[in-house]
């Protein structure tokens, strides 16, 4: 088995792991971490395809590599926005849950009149 096949299989496993975490974790923050794991697995697949496109002295196809760099930055921006939403939810309701039946805690901060 070559490096690209090995890493490709690893990426496939990462996508499945991340998807499982995002589906089953009760805490939104853990879902977010799992979703990032899923995303990095997809990026790694891109890397495998880029490596298969090696040509002469170029170690890999630069186009998917550049797409992944853009993707990592955008994924970070989306994660930061999601974390900010989650922290705001916790401030408003005192809880950080997506479960509508969960008992509400005390708001961490009283909203201004």
């Amino acid at each position: 088995m070559s490096t690209v096949t090995l890493f490709g299989l690893c990426a496939a496993a990462l996508v499945g792991l991340g998807l499982y975490g995002a589906l089953t974790h009760p805490q939104p923050l853990r879902k977010l971490i799992a979703f990032n794991l899923l995303g990095s697995g997809v990026f790694l697949l891109f890397g495998v395809f880029a490596r298969r496109g090696a040509w002469q002295a170029v170690g890999g196809d630069p186009v998917p590599q550049a797409l992944v760099i853009t993707g990592i930055v955008v994924a970070f921006a989306a994660t930061a926005l999601a974390v900010a939403l989650l922290l705001r939810l916790q401030k408003e309701s005192g809880e950080a849950t997506l479960d509508p039946t969960a008992p509400a805690g005390a708001p961490a901060e009283r909203p201004s009149p």
Partner: protein
């Protein structure tokens, strides 16, 4: 079986182990720490895939900045963690696991049945690269061949930051983001925050500059600058700026604005949006990259710092 192959197999196992730990860890703190080590291990995989530019980005953003962001959120949400632990029924989890395994198996099947020779745009990129004046094909793709993606990505950064800011309570709008960090001025962290940034700033600018011909670029350099800024803010050496400050807003939009301006000028001088006249392609790319570095550093730093939580100073 060569030694490299053994090492690569160990690396793949370590990455999978760190990923499994991140999912299975009992506490959110352990998961966040696991995610940071996962990011660093993953960047080693990128090196093995001959994608050093991506490895630098993954280590700096995937491992570094995302880690800071997650650890901050874990600390704030610690009190709610124990109350948010109702997992789905075991039957449902089993079903989810089966479906996820199916996705993995399908992807693995795709990997195993790929055609012998992969499609590649490398010859095209290398043939057109001399016209851009840069020597690193990845930088060439980012700044010239797929410049539109890079432009939109800058816009995404600014829009995401506006989204984060808009979550501020009304009374803090325009104020300082994050908590005020007050540490003894003679402590270890403030010392660190005075010693490290001069070197870090040099490294960040060097990464951007050398990215033209070597691995690196504005993304990686900007992330290093953002990290230096975060160290300074967290040590309380300098407070985060109030978001109503004119310079913050101007610096934030400078990257996309210069990019669009050069792109529009390309319509007149080179016949297409975002096209560069070949004679001055390299200077134009640098002209775009410098404000882009500033935008990336500011936006990444402020995204980690979060929405305003204190009123602006009375002025």
């Amino acid at each position: 079986m060569s030694l490299t192959y053994v090492l690569e197999s160990v690396l793949a196992l370590l990455v999978l182990g760190a990923a499994a730990w991140t999912i299975a860890a009992r506490s959110a703190f352990a998961a966040a720490v696991g995610f940071v080590s996962y990011g660093l291990l993953l960047s080693l995989m990128w090196v093995q895939l001959a994608a050093v530019d991506v490895a630098l980005t993954e280590a700096a953003i995937g491992g570094g900045l995302t880690g800071v962001l997650l650890l901050g959120a874990v600390a704030t949400l610690r009190g709610t963690e124990a109350r948010t632990s109702r997992r789905p029924a075991s039957m449902l989890r089993l079903l989810a696991a089966a479906c996820c395994a199916l996705v993995s198996v399908a992807l693995a099947a795709v990997v195993l049945t790929l055609p012998e020779a992969g499609p590649t745009l490398a010859p095209h990129a290398m043939a057109a690269l001399p016209a851009t004046g840069v020597g690193n094909p990845v930088t060439g793709v980012l700044m010239a061949f797929r410049g539109f993606d890079t432009l939109l990505e800058k816009v995404v950064l600014v829009v995401a930051l506006v989204g984060v800011w808009s979550l501020a309570p009304d009374r803090y709008w325009g104020g300082h983001p994050g908590l005020e960090h007050r540490l003894p001025a003679d402590g270890v962290l403030p010392f660190f925050a005075r010693m490290l940034p001069p070197l870090g700033v040099l490294l960040g600018i060097h990464l951007m500059w050398t990215g033209a011909d070597n691995p690196g670029g504005a993304f990686q350099g900007g992330t290093v600058l953002a990290a230096m800024w975060l160290v300074v803010m967290m040590a309380g050496v300098r407070d985060a700026p109030a978001i109503r400050e004119q310079w913050v807003r101007l610096a934030l939009v400078s990257g996309p604005v210069v990019f669009v301006a050069v792109g529009l000028a390309g319509m007149l001088t080179a016949g297409a949006f975002l096209a560069y006249p070949v004679a001055i392609a390299k200077p134009l790319i640098l002209l775009i990259e410098v404000p882009m570095l500033l935008t990336i550093a500011l936006a990444l730093g402020l995204l980690v710092t979060g929405p305003p939580e204190r009123p602006a100073d009375p002025s």
